[in-house]
Subunit: 403 residues, 2 copies
């Protein structure tokens, strides 16, 4: 059985994801699609609009065969670590290939770029340091340093968000000495972060979430999502009366920032000198997450990095916590599978290099501290009994079966 | 000018408090009444129904001349420390006397009891240790040890809550070598913690709060409170749409308990081994503060001690924080004064042994860390802009003037 790996967030699953999933199976010639998906908090430091369980169902009902969770310690991270954790999981699950969406849609320039950056590593790093010293943000420094390198083959435009992720998947595989083969599918129409809608079937997840928020219902997004997504979103809303948004978490973040002492703030993961004071002053005077972020934003920090720091403060994730999570994931947390996914899993199960977790309660609690806190915080914005229901799924929910 | 000191919480100010205030001035022959009042969180580990500013106004409009705040580090404490902090402030403000309400209403047995316990200190302490070892709560052990002592004079029944406080005020004055004279007024009708109403004019603060909660308005409590209290309560509710109750703070306490790691929990003030695990398990499974408290309660911990621990967890008050607050208050925070109070203050001002704080912003921020966090947490349950308004009073509100 050939398997293709996909790294995703599905926030929510839409027609573009459906296209990517189908294409991935087709161009890689795979029988099963394995998805490494972030949990309740996402790579760009945001709560997912619906929990991982609902997003798992969406994926399974639209053609995914196996969905595993990217642990919090790798999901809420910059692209490099996010990619390393994801590729590690897919490689551990014996994926024959990995297929990612990109603005470019041609795999060779990605491979050349990874080689190029490896060959010119020293120059590249010294250029990065140079730009950082000039006071530009890290991603910006990367882009500038990259543009300074000599290129004699086709390379990738690393200013595009999905190209960057694609680059990091391949670099991660190289670092992990994995033999997984790479494919890429050109993203159709919708830009990753696009807030407007260009096509009558395809819209970015960002614009879909924006529409839901504006309209207060799901009606307008129906053309852009598979029927299964619509049904799952609708069912979730009917039960929990809630789609999750940063603003819901704002009172907790504010409370947290304002009650931490300076030592505690300095221990938070990814926080740098000077930021604690800035965060606290902004928290005191801001009435919403949006205005807080606008107050705290500087050239030095990207919006997404600040959002991730906020998620870490919210979940009380310290540098020590992150260090003890290790350099690669320590377990494979199974969120759901199709009949075919199950068949595949039965074949590879005995050779897995990591424990396969289908019931959390069967493993030491300490293994899941960060994921558990993330689940707790995620459900905290809901009223009882919804809060308890959703939180208890973290322990009690067996992998979701489709078919 | 003779001055009488009063220790109070005024939660809210009612006819019983009015009676006590008038009687205190009368029997002590005082021109001014000075009130040491707890801030937004109270001795028994509860949020006050309305903020300290509103309660200060109530007191001033009903005959108090000077209201100063018992700092958080002394207010949210067992009776002994609460009394020490309060008496220290009143003594520092040169009160000629202190007058407290008690179930007994006769001062001599209080004085005898303080002497008795001083004389038989060793026996008393060894009996306390004996009962603690038997697994009974600290207050219960005190009461049992006390009943074991030989008494050849009239002593006080220390099983009654106001008698206990009275005893501690006198013991504190002795410890502080203060010459302040003591008076006591017999409490009329309403027991301290009484939830029912016996008299047509007097009801306990507890029963008044219960009525407000039940009825959702102030109508039924009108007979039991001065007109000024009614007006202030009504104005507060009109502006903020909110009376403060533990249940409002429950989501934050739950969030806090469930995101702290074990080290952090163990650093909280007054927490003992074994309790962190118990608190976290109860927080996971409880849907309200009431049910949480019922789940966490044991014979070993009194309800009020557990509530205080919860307030400390909520405000992130560690053992280190409390230690650095010192053994006695480090400042006199002025909340409000009448014309006569101002006159009095002008007379004693130059001899005060402590800094007099009328504008917080004129002093180092570190001095007020705990009070500031308490004010922050207290206002966190309100919607914007009420939250910002109330919180900014912590810095900006000058002492309230009544004439």
């Amino acid at each position: 059985m050939r398997s293709v790996g996909i790294v995703a967030e599905y926030n929510p699953f839409h027609n573009g994801h459906l296209y990517h999933l189908k294409q991935s199976k087709e161009i890689s010639g795979s029988d099963v699609a394995i998805v490494a998906m972030s949990g309740n908090f996402l790579q760009r430091g945001e709560p997912a609009i619906v929990p991982k369980w609902t997003r798992t169902k969406m994926a399974l009902l639209s053609g995914a065969d196996l969905v595993v969770e990217i642990p919090y310690a790798f999901a809420v991270q910059k692209a490099e670590i996010f990619a390393l954790g994801s590729v590690y999981l897919l490689d551990a699950l014996k994926c024959s290939s990995i297929c990612f969406g990109s603005e470019l849609g041609n795999i060779h320039p990605f491979l050349h770029t990874v080689d190029l950056l490896k060959d010119q590593e020293e120059t590249y790093n010294s250029r990065i340091r140079f730009y950082i010293k000039q006071g530009v943000s890290y991603p910006k420094a990367l882009a500038l340093a990259y543009s300074d390198l000599e290129k004699n083959k086709d390379t990738v435009d690393l200013s595009r968000p999905n190209n960057i992720l694609g680059y990091h998947y391949i670099a991660a595989a190289k670092k992990l000495k994995s033999n997984v083969e790479f494919f890429t599918v050109k993203r159709n129409t919708a830009e990753h972060d696009d807030q407007t809608i260009h096509d009558d079937k395809i819209a970015s997840a960002t614009s879909i979430r924006k529409l839901i928020k504006q309209e207060g219902n799901l009606h307008r997004i129906r053309p852009y999502i598979p029927e299964a997504t619509y049904n799952e979103m609708e069912a979730y809303y009917r039960t929990y009366k809630h789609f999750h948004d940063w603003e819901d978490y704002w009172p907790y973040l504010q409370y947290r920032l304002l009650t931490m002492n300076n030592d505690e703030l300095n221990q938070m993961y990814d926080i740098e000198e000077g930021l604690p004071y800035r965060l606290q002053r902004a928290a005191e005077s801001s009435g919403s997450f949006q205005s807080f972020m606008e107050n705290v934003k500087t050239k030095r920090y990207t919006w997404t990095r600040l959002q991730r720091i906020c998620v870490h403060a919210l979940t009380n994730t310290t540098r020590t916590d992150m260090n003890s999570a290790g350099e690669t994931p320590g377990y494979i947390r199974l969120l759901g599978m199709s009949a075919k996914g199950r068949e595949y899993l039965n074949k590879v199960k005995k050779d897995l290099p990591l424990p396969l977790v289908s019931t959390v309660s069967a493993f030491p609690e300490a293994l899941f501290t960060l994921d558990r806190r993330a689940a707790l915080v995620y459900s905290q914005v809901m009223k009882e009994p919804a809060r308890s229901d959703l939180f208890s799924m973290e322990y009690a929910q067996p992998p979701i079966m489709a078919d």
